[in-house]
C-alpha cells in the first residue's frame, strides 16, 4: 500500500500540537488502509524533534536540518516538502491549516497536479477512497468532499482531532534539500503583536458585537452601554474591525485576542471557527442572533433568537435596574 506523508511544523522550538493531530489522522487511516506513515521534520537544529516525532506517531522521519529552513518561507518550504514527497512517493500528504500550511500546501498540490482539499475537520477512508469533511460559508454549512486522484494533498484544521497518544518506532533519516540561491521569495522577519490598547484577556465580562450590529455608531449606542452596565469590556468580531468601525484591539478570535471571561455575550456574531477559537473556553456564553441556525448557538450556554436592537437595550435597562 501507499505512503502517507505528514508535514510536521515547528513553532517556538517545539513540534506543534497540530502535527500530533495529523499523526492521529494518519495512523488511523494507515490502520484502515494498510498505508505506511512517514513524516517530514524540517528546520534548523531539529535532530531531537525528529527523534521525538518518530516515536510519537510520525513513523519514519525525514529530517531536513538546514539553516535556511529555520524560518518558514514559501520558497524553501516547498522545496523541502517536494523533496520528501519524491523520497517517499507519498500518495497522501497531510499538512495543518496554519499560516504556513495554507501558504504552501496549494502550491505543492498544483506542482504535483494532485487533488487538494483544504481545512478539513475530518478525513476518512470509505471503501478505500478518501472522503474529507470541511466547512463552507464560514462555518454555516458542512461539506462532504470526495477525491478522485492518485495523489492528494490535505490540510487539516488545528484542533480537529485529539493528538496521537500512542507510540511508534520510526527511524530518522537525513534529507538533503537543495535550496538554490536567488529565490524569488525570502523570509525577512516576524513582527510581534503591538501592545494592545485594551487587554480583553483581563475582563471578567465581555460583550462583543459582530457584523450584525450593522453600523459603527451602534457600538457606542448599543453594545458599549451593556458592557458598561455589567462592568465589563466591549469586544468585536473581525468584520467590525476590517470595516474600521473599531480598532484592532477589540477583535476577538484567531487573529485577535483569545479571551476566557466569566461571561461572554455575543450579539450579531455568526460563530465562524476563527471567532470561536478566541472565546469558546469562556466560562459562560450567551448568544443573541436573529438566525436560529447560527453556529454560535452550538458553543453558547444560553441563546436568544431575536433582534439584537430589541434585546440588547432592554437587557441593559434590566441590568441597570437589577443593580438598583
Amino acid at each position: 500500500m501507499g505512503t502517507i506523508l505528514i508535514v510536521a511544523e515547528i513553532q517556538g522550538g517545539k513540534i506543534r500540537e497540530a502535527s500530533f493531530e495529523l499523526a492521529s489522522i494518519a495512523q488511523k487511516l494507515a490502520a484502515a488502509g494498510g498505508h505506511q506513515v512517514k513524516s517530514l521534520v524540517a528546520g534548523k537544529g531539529i535532530a531531537a524533534l525528529a527523534e521525538e516525532f518518530a516515536k510519537k506517531g510520525g513513523g519514519d522521519v525525514y529530517a531536513a536540518d538546514q539553516e535556511a529552513l529555520g524560518s518558514y518561507c514559501v520558497a524553501t518550504a516547498s522545496r523541502a516538502i517536494r523533496a520528501a514527497v519524491d523520497a517517499s512517493g507519498a500518495e497522501l500528504i497531510l499538512l495543518s491549516n496554519t499560516p504556513s500550511g495554507w501558504d504552501v500546501a496549494p502550491r505543492i498540490a498544483a506542482a504535483l497536479d494532485a487533488a487538494f482539499v483544504s481545512d478539513c475537520f475530518k478525513v476518512d477512508l470509505e471503501g478505500g477512497k478518501l472522503v474529507c469533511h470541511r466547512r463552507v460559508f464560514n462555518g454555516k454549512l458542512d461539506a462532504r468532499v470526495s477525491v478522485n486522484s492518485p495523489r492528494t494533498v490535505v490540510t487539516v484544521q488545528p484542533g480537529a482531532t485529539a493528538p496521537f497518544a500512542g507510540t511508534t518506532s520510526g527511524k530518522v533519516s537525513p534529507l538533503a534539500v537543495e535550496l538554490p540561491a536567488g529565490a524569488r521569495a525570502r523570509f525577512v522577519g516576524v513582527k510581534v503583536a503591538e501592545s494592545k490598547g485594551v487587554d480583553l484577556s483581563k475582563a471578567n465580562i465581555i460583550v462583543s458585537g459582530g457584523r450584525g450590529v450593522g453600523a459603527p455608531e451602534k457600538f457606542p449606542e448599543v453594545i458599549q452601554p451593556l458592557a458598561d452596565a455589567l462592568g465589563g469590556a466591549m469586544g468585536a468580531s473581525r468584520p467590525v474591525v476590517d470595516a474600521g468601525w473599531l480598532p484592532h484591539h477589540y477583535q476577538v478570535g484567531s487573529s485577535g485576542q483569545v479571551v476566557q471571561p466569566k461571561l461572554y455575550i455575543a450579539a450579531g456574531i455568526s460563530g465562524a471557527i476563527q471567532h470561536l477559537v478566541g472565546m469558546k473556553t469562556s466560562n459562560f456564553i450567551i448568544a443573541i442572533n436573529k438566525d436560529p441556525d447560527a453556529p454560535i448557538f452550538e458553543v453558547a450556554n444560553l441563546g436568544v433568537v431575536g433582534d439584537l436592537f430589541e434585546i440588547v437595550p432592554a437587557l441593559t435597562k434590566a441590568v441597570l435596574a437589577a443593580k438598583g
Binding site: A110, F137, R184, V188, R211, S255, A287, A300, G303
Partner: protein, 260 residues
C-alpha cells in the same frame, strides 16, 4: 506596469442559505450576489498602485452571466479592463481547474503583479491563489495585511497567529492573496459607473484559452458531494417568550453566575 486582479462573485453575505434538494450546493436562484469580500480588498490594493503609478488594472472572473455585474462594479471602481470567462464547460471545476483557467489568462496578459483574495466566502477553499502562482511560476504570499513596493521587490506582511505578522520579500512578477482589512475599500462613484460602461469587457470560453477538456466537472479531482447544516449538538438552552421574559431570564442567569 500591469496588475491582474482575480475576482469571484459569491452569494451575498446576508443571503439565505438554502440547500438544494439534491444537497449538491445552495439554492442560487433568486438570491443576491456580490464580489467576494476578500476580493474587494484585493481590487482596492491594485487601484492604490494604479493611483500611484498609472498601472493598468485588469480584472478577471470566472462564472456565469451574473458575473458581468461584478466586473462592471470593478470597472466602476477604477479597473481598466475586464475578462469574463463564461462557459458552461467551467461548471463543476475544482479550485485547481479555476487556477488553470486563471493561469491561462495570466500567461496571456503577462502581469507584473497579481492580486487575489485570500479565500472565497462561499467555498472557503483558500486554494486558488497559491495554485495559480505555482502554475505560472510566480512567488506568492497569502493572508497579506500590508504590502510595500520598492521597484521590483514587494515586502508583504502576512497575518500569522496571535496578531503577529511574518514579513516576506517577493520579487515581481508575483502573486499576493489579500486578507480582509488590509485597506479601506472605495466605492464606485457615479462618474466611475458611467465611465465603466465604455470600458472593455472581453468574454472568453475555455476553448479560447486552450483548455478544452482540461477543466470542469470531468477534470475535477475533488468534488463537493453534499452540503448540509452542521449536526446540532446539545447546543444552547434557548430563551423564548416576550422581550421582557427573555431579558429577565438572562438577568436571572447573570445573577446565578454571581456577576450581578
Amino acid at each position: 506596469m500591469k496588475i491582474l486582479v482575480c475576482l469571484k462573485q459569491v452569494p451575498h453575505q446576508d443571503a439565505r442559505l438554502d440547500v438544494r434538494s439534491d444537497g449538491s450546493w445552495i439554492q442560487e436562484e433568486n438570491i443576491k450576489f456580490e464580489i467576494n469580500s476578500y476580493d474587494t480588498y484585493a481590487l482596492e490594493e491594485a487601484l492604490r498602485v494604479k493611483d500611484a503609478t498609472q498601472a493598468e488594472v485588469v480584472v478577471a472572473s470566472i462564472g456565469p452571466e451574473r458575473v458581468t455585474q461584478a466586473l462592471r462594479t470593478a470597472l466602476g471602481m477604477g479597473a481598466d479592463r475586464a475578462i469574463h470567462v463564461k462557459d458552461p464547460a467551467v461548471e463543476g471545476s475544482d479550485p485547481l481547474g479555476i487556477a488553470k483557467i486563471l493561469a491561462a489568462i495570466a500567461k496571456a496578459e503577462n502581469p507584473d503583479l497579481i492580486f487575489t483574495g485570500f479565500m472565497s466566502d462561499d467555498g472557503n477553499f483558500a486554494s486558488v491563489p497559491p495554485m495559480l502562482a505555482e502554475l505560472v511560476g510566480m512567488p506568492s504570499a497569502t493572508a497579506a495585511v500590508q504590502v510595500e513596493r520598492k521597484d521590483g521587490t514587494l515586502s508583504v506582511s502576512r497575518e500569522i497567529e496571535g496578531g503577529a505578522q511574518e514579513v516576506v520579500e517577493l520579487t515581481a512578477p508575483c502573486l499576493i492573496a489579500v486578507q480582509t482589512g488590509i485597506n479601506q475599500v472605495r466605492y464606485a462613484s457615479l462618474k466611475g459607473i458611467m465611465a465603466a460602461k465604455k470600458k472593455p469587457l472581453d468574454v472568453k470560453t475555455v476553448a479560447d484559452l486552450g483548455l478544452a477538456g482540461q477543466v470542469g466537472a470531468g477534470a475535477a479531482k475533488i468534488k463537493v458531494e453534499k452540503i448540509a447544516p452542521p449536526p446540532k449538538g446539545s447546543g444552547a438552552e434557548m430563551l423564548t417568550g416576550s422581550t421582557d421574559q427573555i431579558v429577565s431570564g438572562i438577568v436571572g442567569k447573570i445573577k446565578e453566575l454571581g456577576l450581578l
